[in-house]
Protein backbone atom coordinates (compact mmCIF):
# COMPACT_ATOMS: atom_id res chain seq x y z
CA UNK A 1 0.00 0.00 0.00
CA UNK A 2 1.65 3.20 -1.14
CA UNK A 3 0.87 6.17 1.02
CA UNK A 4 2.60 9.44 0.47
CA UNK A 5 2.89 11.95 3.24
CA UNK A 6 0.60 14.92 2.76
CA UNK A 7 0.60 18.34 4.26
CA UNK A 8 -2.09 18.15 6.97
CA UNK A 9 -2.92 21.81 6.48
CA UNK A 10 -4.13 21.40 2.92
CA UNK A 11 -7.64 20.35 2.16
CA UNK A 12 -6.72 18.23 -0.85
CA UNK A 13 -7.03 14.51 -0.36
CA UNK A 14 -5.84 11.75 -2.62
CA UNK A 15 -6.69 8.13 -2.14
CA UNK A 16 -4.18 5.35 -2.02
CA UNK A 17 -4.58 2.06 -3.83
CA UNK A 18 -6.99 0.80 -1.15
CA UNK A 19 -9.27 3.78 -1.57
CA UNK A 20 -8.71 5.35 1.85
CA UNK A 21 -7.82 9.00 2.24
CA UNK A 22 -4.14 9.81 2.29
CA UNK A 23 -4.90 13.15 3.91
CA UNK A 24 -6.63 11.29 6.73
CA UNK A 25 -3.54 9.08 7.15
CA UNK A 26 -1.37 12.20 7.21
CA UNK A 27 -3.46 13.69 9.99
CA UNK A 28 -3.27 10.47 12.00
CA UNK A 29 0.50 10.38 11.64
CA UNK A 30 0.73 13.98 12.84
CA UNK A 31 -1.54 13.28 15.79
CA UNK A 32 0.56 10.29 16.85
CA UNK A 33 3.74 12.26 16.32
CA UNK A 34 2.45 15.13 18.44
CA UNK A 35 1.44 12.70 21.18
CA UNK A 36 4.95 11.21 21.22
CA UNK A 37 6.56 14.66 21.27
CA UNK A 38 4.30 15.84 24.08
CA UNK A 39 5.19 12.79 26.16
CA UNK A 40 8.90 13.34 25.52
CA UNK A 41 8.48 16.95 26.66
CA UNK A 42 6.75 15.75 29.85
CA UNK A 43 9.65 13.36 30.53
CA UNK A 44 12.12 16.18 30.05
CA UNK A 45 10.39 18.62 32.42
CA UNK A 46 9.12 16.19 35.07
CA UNK A 47 10.69 16.38 38.52
CA UNK A 48 13.50 13.91 39.38
CA UNK A 49 11.20 11.86 41.61
CA UNK A 50 8.64 11.49 38.83
CA UNK A 51 11.04 10.91 35.94
CA UNK A 52 10.54 7.14 35.94
CA UNK A 53 6.77 7.57 36.01
CA UNK A 54 6.90 10.02 33.12
CA UNK A 55 9.04 7.53 31.18
CA UNK A 56 6.54 4.79 31.96
CA UNK A 57 3.70 6.99 30.67
CA UNK A 58 5.53 7.81 27.45
CA UNK A 59 6.45 4.16 26.73
CA UNK A 60 2.78 3.16 26.89
CA UNK A 61 1.96 5.32 23.87
CA UNK A 62 3.59 2.80 21.56
CA UNK A 63 1.08 0.19 22.70
CA UNK A 64 -2.03 2.36 22.36
CA UNK A 65 -3.89 1.43 19.20
CA UNK A 66 -5.81 4.59 18.40
CA UNK A 67 -4.02 7.83 17.52
CA UNK A 68 -6.59 10.00 19.27
CA UNK A 69 -6.39 7.71 22.31
CA UNK A 70 -2.62 8.16 22.26
CA UNK A 71 -3.07 11.93 22.15
CA UNK A 72 -5.51 11.87 25.08
CA UNK A 73 -3.03 9.67 26.97
CA UNK A 74 -0.15 12.10 26.38
CA UNK A 75 -2.29 15.11 27.36
CA UNK A 76 -3.21 13.29 30.59
CA UNK A 77 0.48 12.63 31.23
CA UNK A 78 1.09 16.38 31.64
CA UNK A 79 -0.64 16.04 35.01
CA UNK A 80 2.61 14.55 36.31
CA UNK A 81 4.34 17.91 35.83
CA UNK A 82 2.35 19.21 38.79
CA UNK A 83 3.92 16.59 41.07
CA UNK A 84 7.29 17.98 42.13
CA UNK A 85 9.24 15.26 43.93
CA UNK A 86 12.90 14.86 44.56
CA UNK A 87 14.61 11.70 43.53
CA UNK A 88 14.32 8.85 46.00
CA UNK A 89 17.19 6.38 46.28
CA UNK A 90 15.14 3.63 44.62
CA UNK A 91 15.39 5.51 41.34
CA UNK A 92 19.19 5.21 41.59
CA UNK A 93 20.14 8.38 39.81
CA UNK A 94 21.55 11.74 40.92
CA UNK A 95 18.79 14.17 41.88
CA UNK A 96 20.17 17.29 40.22
CA UNK A 97 17.52 19.92 39.86
CA UNK A 98 17.61 21.56 36.45
CA UNK A 99 18.40 25.27 36.35
CA UNK A 100 19.61 25.18 39.98
CA UNK A 101 21.50 28.43 39.46
CA UNK A 102 18.31 30.48 38.95
CA UNK A 103 17.50 31.04 42.62
CA UNK A 104 21.04 32.06 43.65
CA UNK A 105 21.08 34.47 40.72
CA UNK A 106 17.72 35.96 41.73
CA UNK A 107 18.89 36.28 45.35
CA UNK A 108 22.14 37.97 44.33
CA UNK A 109 20.38 40.50 42.06
CA UNK A 110 17.72 41.20 44.69
CA UNK A 111 20.35 41.75 47.40
CA UNK A 112 22.37 44.08 45.17
CA UNK A 113 19.37 46.09 43.99
CA UNK A 114 17.88 46.34 47.52
CA UNK A 115 21.18 47.48 49.00
CA UNK A 116 21.48 50.11 46.25
CA UNK A 117 17.86 51.21 46.85
CA UNK A 118 18.50 51.52 50.58
CA UNK A 119 21.68 53.52 49.89
CA UNK A 120 19.95 55.92 47.51
CA UNK A 121 16.65 56.18 49.43
CA UNK A 122 15.54 59.68 50.34
CA UNK A 123 12.96 58.79 52.97
CA UNK A 124 12.95 56.54 56.03
CA UNK A 125 9.99 54.65 54.56
CA UNK A 126 11.83 53.77 51.31
CA UNK A 127 15.03 52.89 53.20
CA UNK A 128 13.10 50.60 55.56
CA UNK A 129 11.35 48.85 52.63
CA UNK A 130 14.64 48.23 50.81
CA UNK A 131 16.36 47.11 54.04
CA UNK A 132 13.64 44.57 54.80
CA UNK A 133 13.97 43.08 51.31
CA UNK A 134 17.77 43.00 51.51
CA UNK A 135 17.75 41.47 55.02
CA UNK A 136 15.32 38.75 53.94
CA UNK A 137 17.39 37.78 50.91
CA UNK A 138 20.68 37.87 52.87
CA UNK A 139 19.24 35.49 55.51
CA UNK A 140 17.91 33.20 52.79
CA UNK A 141 21.34 33.20 51.11
CA UNK A 142 22.99 32.34 54.45
CA UNK A 143 20.63 29.37 54.95
CA UNK A 144 21.27 28.19 51.38
CA UNK A 145 25.07 28.38 51.84
CA UNK A 146 24.75 26.38 55.08
CA UNK A 147 22.73 23.76 53.21
CA UNK A 148 25.26 23.74 50.36
CA UNK A 149 28.11 22.97 52.78
CA UNK A 150 26.09 20.07 54.21
CA UNK A 151 25.37 18.69 50.72
CA UNK A 152 29.09 18.66 49.86
CA UNK A 153 29.44 15.52 52.00
CA UNK A 154 26.82 13.67 49.98
CA UNK A 155 28.14 10.25 48.91
CA UNK A 156 27.70 9.07 45.31
CA UNK A 157 24.45 7.38 44.33
CA UNK A 158 26.44 4.30 43.32
CA UNK A 159 27.11 3.64 47.03
CA UNK A 160 23.40 3.13 47.65
CA UNK A 161 23.64 2.26 51.35
CA UNK A 162 25.76 5.32 52.24
CA UNK A 163 23.54 7.50 50.05
CA UNK A 164 20.42 6.34 51.85
CA UNK A 165 22.00 6.93 55.26
CA UNK A 166 22.98 10.43 54.12
CA UNK A 167 19.43 11.12 52.90
CA UNK A 168 18.08 9.97 56.27
CA UNK A 169 20.55 12.19 58.15
CA UNK A 170 19.54 15.12 55.93
CA UNK A 171 15.84 14.57 56.53
CA UNK A 172 16.36 14.24 60.30
CA UNK A 173 18.38 17.46 60.24
CA UNK A 174 15.56 19.24 58.44
CA UNK A 175 12.96 17.87 60.86
CA UNK A 176 15.10 19.02 63.84
CA UNK A 177 15.14 22.43 62.21
CA UNK A 178 11.32 22.48 62.25
CA UNK A 179 11.26 21.44 65.91
CA UNK A 180 13.74 24.10 67.03
CA UNK A 181 13.60 27.89 67.29
CA UNK A 182 15.15 28.01 63.80
CA UNK A 183 11.76 27.08 62.40
CA UNK A 184 10.79 30.73 62.70
CA UNK A 185 13.69 31.81 60.49
CA UNK A 186 12.14 30.87 57.14
CA UNK A 187 8.74 32.47 57.87
CA UNK A 188 10.51 35.61 59.12
CA UNK A 189 12.48 35.75 55.87
CA UNK A 190 9.25 35.44 53.88
CA UNK A 191 7.50 38.10 55.99
CA UNK A 192 10.50 40.43 55.74
CA UNK A 193 10.68 40.20 51.94
CA UNK A 194 6.90 40.48 51.50
CA UNK A 195 6.61 43.39 53.93
CA UNK A 196 9.41 45.17 52.10
CA UNK A 197 7.70 44.75 48.74
CA UNK A 198 4.31 45.78 50.15
CA UNK A 199 5.88 48.95 51.55
CA UNK A 200 7.64 49.53 48.23
CA UNK A 201 4.45 49.17 46.18
CA UNK A 202 2.05 50.74 48.67
CA UNK A 203 0.59 53.00 45.99
CA UNK A 204 -0.42 49.92 44.02
CA UNK A 205 -3.03 48.10 46.08
CA UNK A 206 -3.32 45.15 43.72
CA UNK A 207 0.43 44.50 43.82
CA UNK A 208 0.39 44.74 47.61
CA UNK A 209 -2.48 42.25 47.88
CA UNK A 210 -0.82 39.82 45.45
CA UNK A 211 2.47 39.98 47.33
CA UNK A 212 0.75 39.50 50.69
CA UNK A 213 -1.19 36.52 49.32
CA UNK A 214 2.01 35.02 47.89
CA UNK A 215 3.75 35.46 51.23
CA UNK A 216 0.87 33.77 53.05
CA UNK A 217 1.06 30.84 50.63
CA UNK A 218 4.80 30.47 51.23
CA UNK A 219 4.23 30.50 54.99
CA UNK A 220 1.53 27.84 54.67
CA UNK A 221 3.84 25.66 52.56
CA UNK A 222 6.71 26.05 55.01
CA UNK A 223 4.72 25.29 58.12
CA UNK A 224 2.11 22.80 57.02
CA UNK A 225 3.34 21.07 53.90
CA UNK A 226 7.06 20.55 54.30
CA UNK A 227 7.28 18.90 57.76
CA UNK A 228 4.65 16.35 56.72
CA UNK A 229 6.53 15.67 53.47
CA UNK A 230 9.76 15.18 55.45
CA UNK A 231 8.05 12.69 57.78
CA UNK A 232 6.71 10.71 54.82
CA UNK A 233 10.11 10.58 53.18
CA UNK A 234 11.73 9.54 56.49
CA UNK A 235 9.27 6.67 56.83
CA UNK A 236 10.06 5.57 53.29
CA UNK A 237 13.85 5.81 53.68
CA UNK A 238 13.79 3.95 57.03
CA UNK A 239 11.86 1.16 55.37
CA UNK A 240 14.40 0.97 52.54
CA UNK A 241 17.34 0.90 54.97
CA UNK A 242 15.75 -1.84 57.08
CA UNK A 243 15.01 -3.87 53.92
CA UNK A 244 18.68 -3.56 52.97
CA UNK A 245 19.74 -4.66 56.45
CA UNK A 246 17.42 -7.70 56.26
CA UNK A 247 18.68 -8.56 52.79
CA UNK A 248 22.30 -8.55 54.04
CA UNK A 249 21.34 -10.94 56.86
Amino acid sequence: MAISRTNPFTSRAWTNDRGSSICESGWRIEIRRFAVRLSAWVVRWSSPGCKDWAQGLSREIEYIEGDWAALVWSIGSTRILLDRRRSLPTVNRDAVAPLWWIFPMIAATQILSSVMDAWKAHSVHDRAAASLIAAGWVCWAALSIDDWFWQRDKPPVSDIQAFRLFVRATLERRLRHYRSERRWLSPLIAVSICAGFVMKFEANVIAAVVIAAGGALVLWMLFLDMPEEIRQRLTHINRLISEDANAVK
Binding site: C50, D52, W53, Q55, G56, L57, R59, E60, E62, Y63, I64, V72, W73, S74, I75, G76, S77, T78, R79, I80, D83, E228, Q232, H236, R239
Partner: protein, 90 residues
Protein backbone atom coordinates in the same frame (compact mmCIF):
# COMPACT_ATOMS: atom_id res chain seq x y z
CA UNK B 1 -0.15 9.69 55.40
CA UNK B 2 -3.16 7.46 54.95
CA UNK B 3 -4.37 6.17 51.63
CA UNK B 4 -7.17 8.31 50.27
CA UNK B 5 -10.07 5.92 49.65
CA UNK B 6 -11.59 7.68 46.69
CA UNK B 7 -13.75 5.78 44.18
CA UNK B 8 -10.90 5.98 41.66
CA UNK B 9 -8.40 4.53 44.14
CA UNK B 10 -10.88 1.77 44.94
CA UNK B 11 -11.08 0.88 41.24
CA UNK B 12 -7.29 0.68 40.95
CA UNK B 13 -6.89 -1.35 44.15
CA UNK B 14 -9.65 -3.76 43.14
CA UNK B 15 -7.89 -4.31 39.82
CA UNK B 16 -4.60 -5.13 41.54
CA UNK B 17 -6.26 -7.30 44.18
CA UNK B 18 -7.68 -9.67 41.59
CA UNK B 19 -4.24 -11.26 41.26
CA UNK B 20 -1.51 -10.24 43.67
CA UNK B 21 1.29 -11.88 41.67
CA UNK B 22 0.46 -10.42 38.29
CA UNK B 23 2.42 -7.44 37.00
CA UNK B 24 0.26 -4.91 35.18
CA UNK B 25 0.93 -2.25 32.58
CA UNK B 26 -0.29 1.29 32.88
CA UNK B 27 -2.42 1.23 29.73
CA UNK B 28 -3.86 -2.13 30.76
CA UNK B 29 -4.95 -0.61 34.09
CA UNK B 30 -6.36 2.41 32.32
CA UNK B 31 -8.54 0.25 30.06
CA UNK B 32 -9.76 -2.04 32.80
CA UNK B 33 -10.56 0.75 35.29
CA UNK B 34 -11.71 3.31 32.75
CA UNK B 35 -9.45 5.95 34.29
CA UNK B 36 -7.43 8.30 32.12
CA UNK B 37 -3.67 8.60 32.52
CA UNK B 38 -3.95 11.93 34.33
CA UNK B 39 -6.11 10.31 37.01
CA UNK B 40 -4.51 6.87 37.12
CA UNK B 41 -0.84 7.75 37.47
CA UNK B 42 -1.14 10.11 40.46
CA UNK B 43 -2.92 7.25 42.22
CA UNK B 44 -0.12 4.84 41.29
CA UNK B 45 2.51 7.34 42.45
CA UNK B 46 0.71 7.78 45.75
CA UNK B 47 0.47 4.01 46.24
CA UNK B 48 4.19 3.63 45.52
CA UNK B 49 5.07 6.46 47.92
CA UNK B 50 3.12 4.66 50.66
CA UNK B 51 5.00 1.44 49.94
CA UNK B 52 1.87 -0.36 48.72
CA UNK B 53 2.95 -0.67 45.10
CA UNK B 54 6.17 -1.91 43.60
CA UNK B 55 7.38 -1.03 40.14
CA UNK B 56 9.62 -2.67 37.63
CA UNK B 57 10.76 -2.31 34.05
CA UNK B 58 9.91 -5.06 31.63
CA UNK B 59 12.79 -6.26 29.50
CA UNK B 60 11.47 -6.71 25.96
CA UNK B 61 13.21 -8.86 23.41
CA UNK B 62 11.96 -7.19 20.23
CA UNK B 63 14.24 -4.18 20.53
CA UNK B 64 11.46 -1.99 21.88
CA UNK B 65 12.01 0.19 24.95
CA UNK B 66 10.99 -1.52 28.21
CA UNK B 67 7.56 -0.83 29.72
CA UNK B 68 6.82 0.12 33.30
CA UNK B 69 5.14 -2.62 35.34
CA UNK B 70 3.18 -2.37 38.57
CA UNK B 71 2.20 -4.83 41.29
CA UNK B 72 0.99 -4.57 44.87
CA UNK B 73 3.52 -5.25 47.61
CA UNK B 74 2.79 -7.77 50.34
CA UNK B 75 1.88 -4.89 52.63
CA UNK B 76 -0.44 -3.42 50.01
CA UNK B 77 -2.19 -6.69 49.35
CA UNK B 78 -2.77 -7.97 52.88
CA UNK B 79 -3.39 -4.63 54.55
CA UNK B 80 -5.89 -3.23 52.06
CA UNK B 81 -7.57 -6.33 50.70
CA UNK B 82 -10.37 -6.31 53.32
CA UNK B 83 -11.30 -2.74 52.42
CA UNK B 84 -11.55 -3.19 48.68
CA UNK B 85 -12.62 -6.75 48.08
CA UNK B 86 -15.99 -7.82 49.45
CA UNK B 87 -16.96 -11.45 49.86
CA UNK B 88 -13.49 -12.74 48.96
CA UNK B 89 -12.29 -15.61 51.07
CA UNK B 90 -8.91 -15.19 52.76
Amino acid sequence: MKLRRSPQTALVMAEFLQDKDEWKYGYQLSRSTGLRSGTLYPILIRLAALGLLETSWEATSEGRPPRHLYKLTQDGYFTHKPFYVKGMDE
